[in-house]
């Protein structure tokens, strides 16, 4: 309204410019005359009073609304709130207001608009037309994080101002009248006291509520709460110095350090928002959201670090923070937002702590695998998880997450078995810390155990590690790629709690300490009373399988053993006995006794031979024997000497060149108890054979006509080779010695001329030469073994291959200078390359050294006839089947199991097909009739 019209209006009450008054003031509606009444009479009936009121009300309405209407100015901070005060509040206005609000002009319920309603509407229209655009300019677009605070502040200021603007007329003009009226009513009628009082309070409250609803509606609710919650979160981060790596930095980052001020300003903002009605539920929701996120960020920022050095859990600190940092903030904010004193309950704090721990725990569990690998530096983290496990659902989460991690990071072909075993041991230790009753361990370790069982070398590594002495082995052996697990070896050193075996505790009725299994235990759960890593490893397999493997490896160790007392093996066997039980390890004990006994027998036999010579057991050639006949049941209680089942066959040692004073020591083994041993037969050098016979004779005398069966290939001997320019000393295997000895022996028959030609090529440096077939014939040795030995000697620089399959003794070493300088030796003698080849061959030979105990592949060859019988029997009776089924059946029915896979089965079947015994169509094989 411009000034002019204001003036005019003060003199001539005219309708508000913005409002049309529904009834013209000058022509009041007089109503109709009812039939039969005198027309136009001054007392025109009852309706006249009503008509009169109508007119009056219209007048008052017009005056009041004109007075109350809001300045029609677009929102602009500077001017806002200035316009209202100018309106003069005249008598007519007061009367009109009174009339409309508390007098007769009060709107009748449901029929007429009340002034308050009108005002509310007026405010609404004003807000929408003038203030809303300003707000929209702030809120219409995404609010950037940096501006969030500013946007909120600005909004809050605008709203505060307009609120003031709207409330001011309401409070100063409308409310007092209502209040006055209610005061009057109070004095006159006590009865109505509460109602009236309520009424004006209600009006005020309703107006405010409408106003706040209006404000809240003006803002996009989601965007607003997102912004608010970001601001709160951000403030929280700053309060608690959370480092958030979102690259956005902080709003007003420079106030970073002033915590009390920051806290005050955030509360200020919230108070402001609350006062314009943006607090309450929506803000509380946003706040809850922010706090939730804050807690997560706080944990990530402050607690993800694991204390690798002090190994302490951080859970307590976290609890402290929730109690002393987090919950006071919540309390303060809630006090502002809820407009009422808000006290944080102890149970709330507890709940928040649980939430915090849950989050920390989940975060920790995600990295559990790393903690396990770094056990036991990661003890702190593990203890945190332990605390977390008290939360509902934590165990499930842990076992799921862990097995996922394990399968992704551990159980794949890229991890060596040693590594997996080591990790498994860490898992055992760590989980034992996590949950001493072992249910979780069982669950977590199941995939690892299953996987380990599938690996071929698991048992071998476990047992060789058990047999390894941590202390005297050099540390280099225990690399991640080695075959020996340091952890297992170390574990073996620990004192053992007695390993009560197989006792079914549940049937022990007199056990007063009996406790039921934990309720989440699986059916095959077994309580392990001791943290015994070895126990877990030994239970990976059936005990029987393990002992078989142990026999293999122990046998190999014993045969190779350099220590005449076998101290280490004895001790380790004792340790294993304690864990696996005495009864099952009889075979191993026998093996150990065999070798010890052999020492004694050797001493006595050799001593008898040469009493004056000091018993110096230098060149030992151990060799086992196997019973040559299967006549006797090896172990019958009747035979007291069961340890030496009838035919015993030791092998002889050989010593080479100076045939005068060599000693033969034999290992006398009870074949029944030993794993299958290498039985290659060949001619040992004549002097050794003589010694063997002598030994045999003496042995028979000592041992009452027991026979020995020699296993020549398992021996070891010390030899000295006298060559033209040098002497080579070496401790070698008997077959290697026999091969080199064969170069000294004269060829049995006139050599075929073809071989002779080899000699023509030789330079004068070369000595005797032999061809591979010659050697095979002379020694009756397996071709492969001969070649193996030849490669060994080439590697030693004693032989050289002058032609394919023709080897000659290298009497003088080629001069190194000649070898190095190219083209010096034009004779075409490829000395240089020979040397290189020889070195490589030596390395290869070292790897090829067959162990004394027969490996599984060799066993396949040995047992093939048996397997073929099984396969034929199976196909004859059960009809045609595919290899997979054959394999399954073999695994079930072959005694001792069938350790091979479907490939071997297929090969076996193909072989039978070639022989015509079996026919195959596609993948199905059957007997050919």
């Amino acid at each position: 309204m411009d000034h002019q019209s204001l003036v005019f209006a003060s003199v001539f009450p005219v309708p508000a410019l913005s409002h049309t008054t529904p009834t013209p003031i000058s022509t009041p509606e007089l109503g109709f005359t009812a039939p039969g009444q005198s027309f136009g009479g001054p007392f025109g009936g009852a309706s006249a009073g009503g008509q009169h009121r109508e007119v009056k009300r219209n007048l008052a309405w017009s005056t009041a609304t004109r007075f109350l209407s809001l300045p029609k100015l677009p929102y602009d901070e500077g001017h806002l709130g200035a316009g209202v005060v100018h309106i003069h509040k005249g008598k007519d206005v007061v009367d009109a207001l009174e009339y409309l609000l508390v007098g007769e002009g009060q709107g009748e319920e449901g029929k007429e608009e009340s002034l308050v309603d009108w005002y509310t509407n007026e405010v609404r229209i004003h807000f929408v037309s003038y203030v809303h655009p300003a707000l929209r300019s702030i809120w219409d677009n995404e609010i950037a994080c940096q501006n969030a605070w500013g946007a909120l502040e600005e909004t809050q200021q605008i709203l505060q101002q307009v609120q003031q603007l709207y409330l001011q007329p309401f409070n100063s003009h409308i409310l007092p009248i209502l209040e006055h009226e209610s005061a009057n009513t109070t004095s006159s009628t006590i009865r109505l006291d509460t109602t009236a009082e309520d009424q004006h309070m209600f009006a005020s409250w309703k107006f405010q509520r409408d106003l706040h609803g209006l404000f809240a509606h003006a803002l996009p609710p989601q965007r607003f709460s997102k912004t608010l919650s970001y601001v709160l979160y951000n403030a929280g981060c700053r309060l608690f110095r959370v480092y958030v790596d979102n690259g956005l930095g902080f709003v007003g980052g420079d106030v970073l350090d002033d915590v009390p001020k920051l806290r005050e300003s955030i509360l200020q903002l919230l108070r402001g928002l609350q006062s314009v009605g943006l607090g309450e539920e929506q803000a509380q929701k946003a706040f809850a959201h922010a706090m939730d996120k804050l807690m997560g960020s706080f944990i990530v920022s402050h607690y993800m670090k694991v204390d690798w050095f002090s190994r302490k859990p951080i859970i307590n600190h976290l609890r402290q923070w929730v109690k002393d940092g987090f919950s006071p903030l919540v309390r303060q904010v809630m006090e502002v937002l809820a407009d009422e004193p808000h006290s944080v309950q102890a149970s709330d704090v507890q709940q928040w702590q649980d939430m915090a721990i849950g989050r920390l725990g989940r975060a920790r569990v995600e990295n559990l695998f790393d903690f396990i690998i770094n056990w036991d530096k990661s003890l702190g983290a593990i203890l945190d998880i332990k605390e977390y496990l008290k939360m509902p659902g934590a165990k499930v989460n842990l076992s799921n997450s862990f097995s996922h991690q394990v399968s992704r990071r551990l159980l794949h072909a890229g991890a060596t078995t040693t590594f997996i075993l080591n990790v498994y041991i860490y898992v055992i230790r760590a989980f034992n810390e996590l949950e001493p009753n072992g249910v979780l361990l069982e669950r977590a370790a199941r995939p690892i155990r299953r996987y380990l069982k599938g690996r071929e070398d698991t048992a071998r590594i476990v047992i060789s590690s058990l047999l390894t002495d941590v202390e005297d082995e050099n540390a280099a052996k225990f690399g991640p790629t080695s075959e020996i697990s340091h952890e297992i070896a170390a574990e073996m050193q620990k004192p053992i709690a007695s390993f009560a075996q197989e006792q079914d505790d549940d049937l022990n009725w007199s056990d007063m300490n009996w406790q039921p299994h934990p309720m989440d235990a699986s059916p095959d759960y077994r309580k392990s009373k001791v943290e015994d890593v070895i126990w877990f490893l030994l239970t990976l397999y059936d005990r029987e399988d393990f002992i078989n493997e142990l026999k293999q490896i122990l046998g190999d160790y014993l045969l190779r053993g350099h220590d005449p007392e076998y101290e280490k093996e004895t001790r380790l066997l004792e340790l294993i006995k304690l864990r696996l039980g005495d009864d099952k390890l009889q075979a191993c004990e026998v093996m150990l006794r065999d070798v010890l006994e052999s020492n004694r027998i050797n001493a006595s036999i050799n001593g008898e031979k040469k009493p004056d010579e000091p018993a110096k057991p230098v060149p030992i050639t151990p060799s086992p024997h196997t019973p040559s006949t299967n006549q006797a049941q090896p172990r019958t209680p009747a035979a007291p000497q069961a340890r030496y089942p009838a035919p015993i066959t030791p092998i002889a040692a050989l010593t080479k060149k100076p045939p005068a004073d060599h000693t033969l020591n034999a290992q006398i083994l009870s074949s029944f108890f030993w794993p299958p041993l290498r039985e290659d037969n060949f001619h040992v050098p004549a002097p050794i054979a003589t010694l063997q016979r002598e030994y045999e004779a003496r042995f028979e005398r000592v041992k009452g006509m027991r026979k020995l069966r020699w296993l020549p290939s398992l021996g070891r001997t010390k030899i000295e080779l006298h060559l033209t320019d040098r002497t080579v000393e070496a401790e070698v295997q008997t077959w290697q010695a026999s091969v080199i000895y064969a170069f000294q022996q004269p060829l049995p028959s006139s050599p075929p001329p073809a071989n002779r030609r080899g000699h023509t090529l030789n330079s004068k440096d070369q000595g005797e030469s032999r061809t591979v077939p010659q050697l095979v014939e002379m020694l009756e040795m397996d071709d492969a073994l001969v070649r193996n030995a030849l490669v060994f000697w080439v590697g030693m620089g004693v032989l050289q291959e002058v032609q394919p399959d023709v080897y000659a003794v290298l009497e003088t070493l080629p001069k190194p200078s000649a070898a190095d300088i190219t083209a010096t030796d034009t004779a075409g003698n490829p000395t240089t390359s020979t040397a290189v080849v020889a070195a490589a061959a030596a390395a290869a030979a070292a790897e090829l050294q067959p162990s004394g105990v027969v490996s599984t592949t060799e066993q396949l060859a040995q047992n093939k006839p048996l397997y073929r019988q099984f396969v034929v029997g199976m196909l004859t009776n059960q009809g045609n089947m595919p290899p997979a089924r054959v394999l399954m059946m073999l695994k079930m029915v072959v005694p001792g199991g069938f350790p091979y896979g479907v490939e071997e089965v297929r090969a076996l079947l193909e072989e039978l097909v070639e022989e015509g015994k079996v026919g195959g169509v596609g993948d199905v094989f059957g007997v050919r009739k």
């Binding site: 019988q869 034929v872 009776n877 059960q878 009809g879 079930m892 029915v893 079996v918 050919r928």
Partner: protein, 183 residues
Amino acid sequence: MDSLSNPPSMSNADMATTEAKISPPSRSASSNANVTKRLQTELMNLMMSSTPGISAFPNDENLLKWTATIDGPADTPYAGLSFKLSFDFPTTYPLTPPTVLFKTPIYHPNIDFSGRICLDILKDKWSAIYNVQSVLLSLQSLLGEPNNSSPLNGQAAELWDSDPAEYQRLVLARHRDDEETEL
């Protein structure tokens, strides 16, 4: 052959009764394990000895059901034929005999049309020293030397002596080869 189909009954019978007394009535689990062990040994022996003309193999892992194959002995009406049998071992084996049935239809005085066998060592003369192999050998010899004094199949018993040609015809008519496809 005689000794197989009609073993000297004295010592065997004694042994069977003694062992029957010893065996505890309950503890079926352990006795089951014993049966399995025994059957495993028998299987191994059977495989190692590989007697021509007879063969047997378990059907599945529990080892209590086997299938066996017998080739008809030469110079008998059954020459050139092969017969499938089923072995069903009770958990009390070897104290009680296995149930043995001919699965391949066979025409024989001591075997009925459902394949049931009348053989003393599978009934009252059973002894724990018999095993799959000896039973199979006995059955093989039974093919050549039926016991015509107590026939299950009277016609066959009659024809065996009176009309070998007709007998042979009936044997071949009744015999069915395995349905299994030849590979």
